[in-house]
């Protein structure tokens, strides 16, 4: 049977991808960011997933205002890195897991969550930057990501985005779906985006360390209560783009009910406009 063994949480700032792709990762500014992921790279080498269920948001790349799915599950065999206007990131094509993705779609929809099924979808920095942070840059002679990835895109661009509670409950439905898949797969679920940041208007550049610290504490210890936090608290306290943090609740909801083991916790300000937060939680059996 498939099992979710761990969850990973990380910001997905586009400038992080640009720094890696342009060979700037050794600069002191970026070293402070990347040093927080050294332990993560070792951990994932020791605990390699077969499949990563990657919760992220598209930033007006795969989805324009033509179609705005609240939750879209990528069921294709492969997904190309998107050209976001600066040219596509020079990272490998993302290999999907159509069989598990289709199983999760069927299970979760029957569990009352009305997903959109995406069979053709480019993936932007929201998905590829977390892969780069956790796996590093794939070498030229073995240019591929080391596992399959199921992209799960959440609308956090046009308000209203799904509520924290809805995201947390969806995570639980995803866990039930994975648990009922009849192949012995080690699945990780990643929640990405955040932490506090605002990219628009005269309040751009907002950072709220206290909010972020409290969010990490509660995500670990009391996610069900955290999930009841209304949108306005994210917007007011963590910035208009801080609302991306609702996606972390999907990953947390997919963990089992025992207190998780905290493998790693990291926080740093800034990466470009954003507070970088990162957590790795393992399920206790």
């Amino acid at each position: 049977m498939a099992r979710i063994s761990a969850s990973v949480y990380t910001s997905h700032v586009p400038a992080i991808g640009a720094a890696l792709d342009q060979g700037k990762s050794g600069e002191p500014y970026w070293q402070k960011v990347f040093s927080g992921y050294e332990k993560s790279k070792q951990w994932i080498k020791a605990n390699p997933p077969d499949v990563v269920f990657l919760v992220y948001n598209d930033h007006a790349n795969a989805f324009s205002l033509d179609l705005i799915p609240t939750f879209a599950i990528g069921c294709a065999a492969e997904f190309q890195p998107a050209d976001e206007g600066w040219g596509p990131r020079p990272v490998p094509m993302v290999r999907g897991h159509p069989e598990l993705a289709a199983h999760i779609a069927q299970s979760v929809i029957q569990d009352d969550f009305d997903l959109t099924i995406a069979n053709k979808m480019d993936v932007d920095h929201g998905l590829t930057v977390p892969l780069s942070l956790m796996f590093g840059q794939p070498p030229a002679d073995d240019f591929r990501w080391p596992c399959a990835v199921i992209p799960f895109a959440v609308n956090v661009v046009q308000y209203p985005v799904p509520s924290g509670r809805r995201c947390y409950q969806l995570g639980r439905a995803i866990r039930r779906a994975v648990d009922s898949f009849d192949q012995p797969l080690n699945v990780q679920i990643w929640g990405t985006g955040g932490m506090s940041h605002q990219l628009q208007g005269p309040r751009a550049g907002l950072i709220n360390r206290e909010f972020d610290r409290d969010f990490l504490d509660r995500l670990i210890a009391d996610p069900a209560a955290l999930a009841s936090m209304p949108h306005i608290d994210y917007v007011r306290e963590a910035g208009s783009e801080g609302i991306e943090l609702v996606m972390w609740l999907i990953a947390r909801g997919a963990m089992n009910d025992k207190p998780p083991r905290v493998v790693h916790r990291f926080y740093h300000v800034p990466a470009s406009n954003t507070a970088v937060g990162h957590l790795i939680l393992e399920n206790q059996e």
Binding site: Y29, A60, N61, G85, V157, Q200, G201
Partner: protein
């Protein structure tokens, strides 16, 4: 009955809700068109002529020509869409975000390095610092 919008009293912030998206539909779709290299080249060659191909308001066109991102947002633009104009101009997200704050590029970058804009005094319109 009107929709509840509890975010209208957050200072310096415009939430891209259904009303804003309706207002900015053509502005944002114009921005999306800049994801194609051919369109970027045509836009750069004659910005006004390219904008005139879109059913945008005159105000929206002037805001784009002036690269006034705050005005673009007031007229329904969303930052992730407007970023395509920045990409066309060779600007980073930090340069774009900073341009909306009234700070210089260096001042904004330094503010971020020093921990970002404080939440204190920035929660409510008219709040005392």
């Amino acid at each position: 009955m009107a929709l509840v919008k509890p975010y209208l009293d957050v200072p310096g912030t415009t939430i891209f809700d259904a009303d804003q998206a309706r207002l900015g539909y053509h502005l944002n779709q114009f921005c999306m068109s800049l994801m194609k290299a051919d369109n970027r080249a045509r836009f750069k060659r004659d910005e006004r002529a390219y904008l005139d191909e879109w059913p945008m308001s005159e105000e929206q066109k002037l805001a784009v020509l002036a690269r006034d991102l705050n005005r673009c947002i007031a007229l329904g633009g969303n930052i992730y869409f407007l970023a395509k104009i920045g990409a066309t101009d060779g600007k980073s997200f930090q340069q774009m975000a900073g341009s909306m704050t009234g700070m210089s590029e260096a001042e904004y970058r330094d503010m971020m390095i020093n921990g970002g804009r404080s939440i204190v005094g920035n929660r409510y319109v008219g709040e005392k610092r």
